[in-house]
């Protein structure tokens, strides 16, 4: 408890400097296993589609006993163990319409019996027919087209705003997020309704939003990366994750609180319904959305950037310097607009580094490329 409180206080004061990005393999294994479990779940268990997707049965009964409300009829049918998708009054309450999941003949007869008793009519008066799905394939098709266009557009935007690798890794984080949420649905067997699809799309925007906030900080921290040797790309990214950690925690809490309200009311008070569907998918998606920005997209970005020759060379320089002069001092990174103010000693140091690297690293680029290419695969494995 003490540790937990201490940890919270550290976070609250923004003093946290966890070396999260040193455990990248661990995060990959974790993300990969989640993805595999999800895909297996989707492939083996499959989705539990709601009536809006799979169609169902419709019962149509005349009302001879107006004192019975449509809600009462609904709960009477639900007590028989049948899921009711909608219960409506038709023509100012002259008839009640109930749409349920697909039922077999026995169940259908049972429901008609219930309706006839409740509404004071005969079984023959209660009509039953099959209804198709109301969620058209064209809606799904257009949604998929829109999604693809969106992913392309957002990649182009991120590429233009930041860089190509950030675009790739944020999309990777997003896909992981969607797969995991879908997997949870398949495995737990929650019903997939239009509300769920809407929730999935909300997550999509939310997850990217989250990643952009983290990457914005990474971008800022590493803008002057190559002009100093105090910290590497990984250190800059790690710092960014630390700096945005409290924001991520805060945003997740603030985002999840209303969703928790929806979930509580939707599932606890009202039973099944749109609210529950939406709240569930959002709850799962938002939780994992924060995770994938910090622990999947960012580690992926670090490893992709580490393959770049310039970054590799820089890493080596930073390692050499840190080995020669080990210190536990946290890194302080001066961003662009700090350059004009002289409050920080760090800036002076950074300026020194720039001069140093400018003179001493001159001959290096030409001397190394061949050796580097051969080293790459081996070195990659050694790091684990």
């Amino acid at each position: 408890m003490k540790r937990l409180l201490d940890g919270w206080r550290t976070l609250y004061h923004g003093d946290n400097n966890y070396k999260m990005m040193d455990y990248r393999p661990r995060w990959y294994i974790f993300s990969a296993s989640l993805a595999i479990i999800s895909i297996c779940g989707i492939a083996i268990v499959g989705f539990n589609l709601g009536i809006e997707f799979s169609g169902g049965s419709q019962f149509d009964a005349p009302v001879n006993n107006a004192s019975v409300s449509v809600a009462e009829v609904r709960s009477a049918v639900e007590e028989a163990g049948v899921e009711v998708a909608s219960a409506q009054e038709f023509a100012d309450g002259a008839r009640y319409l109930l749409r349920t999941e697909i039922v077999d003949d026995a169940k259908s007869a049972e429901i008609r019996e219930i309706l006839a008793t409740e509404l004071n009519t005969t079984i023959d008066e209660v009509g039953v027919s099959e209804v198709s799905s109301s969620w058209g394939t064209s809606v799904s098709r257009q949604a998929v087209i829109a999604l693809i266009v969106f992913l392309v557009a957002v990649s182009v935007y991120l590429w233009w705003r930041y860089e190509r690798k950030m675009a790739i890794t944020s999309i990777a984080g997003l896909l992981h997020n969607l797969v995991f949420t879908a997997g949870i649905y398949a495995i737990v067997g929650f019903e997939v309704t239009p509300g769920t699809i809407i929730g999935m799309l909300t997550i999509l925007g939310y997850s990217l939003y989250d990643t952009v906030v983290v990457f914005d900080k990474v971008d800022e921290n590493t803008r002057n990366l190559l002009s100093q040797t105090k910290y590497s790309f990984k250190d800059g990214a790690n710092l960014a994750v630390n700096q945005t950690l409290m924001r991520s925690v805060n945003t997740s809490i603030i985002g999840l609180l209303p969703v928790a309200g929806l979930l509580f009311v939707g599932a606890g008070v009202m039973g099944v319904g749109t609210l529950k569907d939406l709240a569930l998918v959002l709850f799962v998606g938002m939780l994992t959305g924060g995770f994938s920005s910090l622990f999947l997209s960012t580690p992926l970005l670090i490893d992709m950037r580490n393959r770049e020759p310039a970054i590799r060379a820089h890493n080596r320089k930073v390692e050499a310097k840190q080995a020669a002069n080990p210190s536990n001092e946290p890194i302080v990174i001066a961003s662009d607009d700090d350059l004009e103010d002289d409050e920080f000693e760090v800036n002076a140091e950074a300026d020194d580094d720039r001069v140093l690297s400018g003179t001493s690293s001159g001959p290096r680029p030409g001397a190394r490329p061949g050796a580097r290419k051969q080293q790459r695969p081996g070195k990659k494995r050694k790091r684990r």
Binding site: E130, V131, Y206, V265, D337
Partner: protein, 619 residues
């Protein structure tokens, strides 16, 4: 200060337009969706010529076309499904007054392109199509079309009027009208359908034999009606004006076209699909806008005209796309651009070549939507422009009908009735309760975490709410945006997304102050950086909502709308309210300087763990 003025103006404008939308009569409320408020339900049943059951694939195809069409009219999130084997149910949100609208957008139609063989022949009757529209089929009509008989003098005055919509001169001058009744040219639908012969015999039995033979003689003579003879013709053939639409449908084409007492009210009310057979010639009427109807009524004329139309070679399914565009020769007018599918294009070119210089009618169900003259260029390619004195609305309607008019089956509107909400107000109250709980939790958390700044978060959320509510209400009135339960949930979730902007800003502020800056210098620095992050992240959301809005349909479109709306409001609030308030506070009060009040930890105030020492210069 100027920020607050802009914010005030924006808020006032939104509320004003929301109130203007309800004519300041009551408090503006959002238009609620089918699930919360209920609406209208229309049942369409497929009409098979042989009385059989349509196959499931055609029904699904028809369902999708109807869905596209209803969706094409806005973001109202309709619900459309196949019930049983031959019914399609269309549910839309809204109250009783929308029944006509539903009929218009939902009632499907079959589209045919037919060369005009003869016409326009003026409709001499004063039939009101409304009288026939709801007429039960089996019940013979007694009262409609009484006008010409009751007061023939009015007809005389009216007919020769040269300024009318359809001057009678048209008919007498038009060489087509005179030549038409050359017997060998016009087919008789009864040749193809023997049952029609029986029906015609039944009609013949109802009509006075003398009148019938006079009608036959009149048709055979091929004489156009001179204006001065019209009253006597109207009197002689009065019986034909009392036939039911279905009886009229059984008559020969010459009779339908030439007998002056057979009006467009009867012709338009024929059973759906009665002139959809492609291999038959048909008689159909054009249609008129309400303004044309009013103008014609004033002039004592019928706004309609009858056409004899050739066999159809191009049908709705041949149309690949139709869109409204500017008239290329007369940019002040609107036109409809059409393109055909591969096979459809060949058929269209054949039709256009054959009809060069004459008219081709676009027939939707029983009505000629438009009958443009084929210009020489029309036969050249797959993309065609239909021009006319279209207003933007007319052109849009025509484009929609052309695009979605390709139903594989003929449908009849079986019932239109009210339905209650699928979920009901109980669920909506639950949603609002959930929202209240959510907001309360967010408020508590913000107060605990950001202390005084938490109050700014709450005020910002209130401002955001004051902006979003009138926007949703106004859009409900203007473009039919309906708020479903999912939409309400989306708005509740947006609370979190809106609050995120503040969190980004405040966390930056905290960072800056931790580095030892005074609030006065920390706020502008934090704002510059936070603004960049907020804009980058919100750009992604806006991108998502724009793309989803324009490409997706149905519920997904509605979602995109909500997302875009709340993102834009988020930007408005954080730029025009949150930042100015914080900035003002940093200059005036001492609240931000106190860690206890602001929750902003200023470096040395509370002891921190030694391992996380930060290089801070004493300020």
């Amino acid at each position: 200060m100027p920020y607050f003025i802009v914010l005030g103006v924006v808020t006032c404008l939104l509320w004003l337009s929301a109130f203007a939308g309800v004519d300041f009569k009551h408090f503006p409320t959002p238009k609620l969706g089918l699930d919360l408020q209920g609406g209208m339900s229309m049942t369409l049943s497929a009409e098979m010529p042989d009385g059989g059951t349509p196959d499931a694939a055609s029904m699904e195809q028809a369902r999708q076309i109807i869905e596209d069409r209803v969706n094409g009219t806005g973001v109202a999130e309709p619900e459309i499904y196949v019930e049983g084997t031959s019914n399609i149910v269309v549910n839309v949100a809204g109250q009783e007054s929308d029944a006509d609208e539903l009929r218009e957008v939902g009632a499907p139609a079959e589209l045919r392109f037919r060369q005009v063989l003869s016409g326009p022949v003026p409709d001499y009757t004063m039939q009101d199509p409304e009288d026939f529209a709801n007429l039960p089929e089996e019940e013979p009509s007694t009262e409609p079309s009484d006008d010409p008989d009751a007061d023939p003098s009015e007809e005389i005055d009216a007919s020769p009027s040269p300024d009318g919509e359809e001057p009678s001169g048209d008919a007498s001058e038009s060489p087509d009208a005179g030549e038409t009744p050359a017997e060998d040219e016009i087919e008789d639908p009864a040749d193809a359908d023997p049952s029609l012969e029986d029906a015609r015999e039944a009609v013949r039995a109802e009509i006075d034999p003398q009148t019938w033979s006079m009608a036959e003689a009149f048709i055979a003579s091929g004489q156009p009606i001179a204006p001065e003879e019209l009253p006597s013709y109207m009197e002689v053939f009065a019986e034909f004006g009392e036939l039911t639409p279905d009886q009229v449908a059984a008559l020969s084409l010459e009779m339908q076209l030439m007998i002056p007492t057979i009006g467009c009210g009867q012709l338009n009310a024929r059973a759906p699909g009665s002139i959809s057979a492609m291999e038959q010639q048909v008689v159909a009427c054009d249609r008129a806008t309400p303004e044309q109807i009013a103008a014609a009524a004033e002039a004592g004329q019928s706004p309609f005209a009858k056409y004899l139309l050739a066999e159809s070679t191009v049908e709705g399914q041949d149309v690949a796309s139709a869109a409204i565009q500017q008239d290329s020769t007369n940019p002040r007018n609107w036109a409809v651009g059409l393109s055909f599918t591969g096979a459809g294009q060949d058929r269209w070119i054949a039709l256009a070549q054959q009809a060069q210089g004459s008219q081709v009618a676009v027939v939707l169900d029983n009505v000629v939507v438009t009958a443009p003259t084929i210009q020489p260029g029309a036969a050249s390619g797959g993309s065609v422009e239909i021009t006319g004195q279209f207003t933007a609305d007319e052109a849009r309607l025509l484009a929609e009908q052309l695009k979605y008019g390709s139903l594989p089956l003929a449908f009849k509107v079986e019932t239109i009735d009210k339905v209650s909400a699928t979920l009901g107000l109980g669920q909506m109250q639950a949603g609002l309760l959930a929202g209240a709980i959510g907001v309360a939790l967010v408020v508590l958390y913000c107060l605990a975490y950001y202390r005084f700044l938490g109050i700014i978060v709450i005020l910002s959320l209130v401002v955001s709410g004051a902006l979003v509510y009138p926007a949703v209400a106004m859009l409900g009135q203007q473009i039919g945006f309906t708020l479903t339960l999912a939409g309400i949930a989306g708005l509740i979730v947006a609370i979190g997304i809106t609050a995120d902007s503040f969190v980004v800003f405040f966390e930056r502020l905290k960072d800056e102050m931790k580095e030892g800056r005074s609030p006065r210098s920390a706020v502008p620095r934090a704002w510059v950086r936070a603004r960049r992050t907020i804009m980058s992240a919100n750009t992604v959301s806006i991108l998502a909502s724009i793309i989803l809005y324009f490409l997706a349909i149905g519920a997904v479109k509605g979602f995109a709308f909500t997302l875009g709306l709340s993102t834009i409001m988020d930007i408005v609030v954080v730029f025009l309210f949150t930042h100015p308030v914080v900035s003002w506070m940093s200059r005036r009060g001492r609240i931000l300087s106190s860690a206890r009040l602001s929750g902003l930890y200023a470096g040395t105030a509370i002891g921190s763990r030694p391992s996380s020492a930060v290089t801070v210069k004493e300020s």
